[in-house]
Point group: C2
Chain length 273, copies 2
Amino acid sequence: MTSSLSIALVGSGNVAWHLGHAFEQAGHRIVSVYSRSLIKAEFLAESLLQAHPTHQLDFSLVKADVFILALKDDAVEEVLQRAVFPVNSLVVHTSGSLPITIFTNQSKIRGGVFYPVQTFSKEVAINLKQTPIGVEASNSADLSLLKNLAESISEQVIELPTEARQIIHLAAVFACNFTNHLLGISQEILEKYQIDFSVLQPLITETLQKAFTHSPFQVQTGPAVRFDQNILIQHQQLLQHYPNYLAIYNTLTESIQQKAQELAALNQLYTQE
Amino acid sequence: MTSSLSIALVGSGNVAWHLGHAFEQAGHRIVSVYSRSLIKAEFLAESLLQAHPTHQLDFSLVKADVFILALKDDAVEEVLQRAVFPVNSLVVHTSGSLPITIFTNQSKIRGGVFYPVQTFSKEVAINLKQTPIGVEASNSADLSLLKNLAESISEQVIELPTEARQIIHLAAVFACNFTNHLLGISQEILEKYQIDFSVLQPLITETLQKAFTHSPFQVQTGPAVRFDQNILIQHQQLLQHYPNYLAIYNTLTESIQQKAQELAALNQLYTQE
């Protein structure tokens, strides 16, 4: 059972939008919404029950149990330098990569992290209940406040020290940002030949499902892992006018083949025992 | 309404397994199952109603409307050289990359292609109805036979000439094989820090869904597309003991940044008009 908290949102983008509404549904009160653009602050504030919109960074009169900086990484440090918080406020950021130590110079506030491991778009509803939220704080009382707050909107709350959080962020770059770029390349190649990207949707969906029920390296398929030289050459020729995509093709092929050789060597070791 | 066909499966792996059962459910008859290993041929044949298992490549007495080579690419050419088919049989392969011209030297048979755009594992049930099947043949009667056969098990049947099929295969390497390797890297990085890969599942699922409802290049996120030099350096340092993964990181980062600059230049062009 969580007590109801008063929350100030610093930021009005996708993260602020989704968190704000989830907090309200969980019984908390959003007291204030900041954006550099007053119109944007008003837009989010008006969709909430009793939030006050502002484009001023002077929060000295705002009574909130926690200030949530839902901002891009580079904006976080800038806002921290310029904003005025009530003395001894709890201020947390939502970033995957910024260390908790960015708050160290801010002796007048208590710093923390509230990191939802998810990508947010305004138009897409997110199941926050299933979204892992990593929390970090500089003392145990704040940690337990942040855990309670996270557990009021998610079933997947983890204590996540800065280093582990940065590792998750790096892993997410591979699994999501890079994956997205590969899907873009795939779509571009198909569209050049007037083939709709949807032709690959069942295959992609299945690949993903397999990656979570098996170990991805163990279920690797394709010409690289088969060392199928004919196909590799055919593909390299098809990519000759796409130097970046050819570089990606070759770099990934090499990594897949080296991993396959490592796994084969390991298997042999086990067999010999 | 499709007439019932007699089908010989040449191969007993995952593709043969899934196609064989789907054909039977659609009212066709599997008359024969070949595998180099008689035990494997028997295993699949016994799961079908009236299929005869064999490990001999002499099919001269097999009465089938179509012989389906459900084999790895390199095995297809070998089997074509050694197998004996009844004169003028229709023989098709199921490969994404082999051209239809591999049948040209086989003057005694009619060649064709029956390519399900999917990845098959024995233990995973596949919704073949939603799996695109690309067909190709050397004459219109065979093309319509293959189309009817494909339509009896799938709602997504397309005529696919060799070049378009090879492009789909190349696009699938990016969207599936490479994506799978990236997921493997992501898992390896997390496990080194005792973090379970499942922490990224909601984020990966959401990334995928977004890629099919938006254009992937348009919804690219992450430090590369933000040109966030601090995070890029942090990640490169974390990857210093993984030279292959660092190479992938840098190659993909460069491609993402170049694509972002292209899109920005295009947007500017449109704005100026």
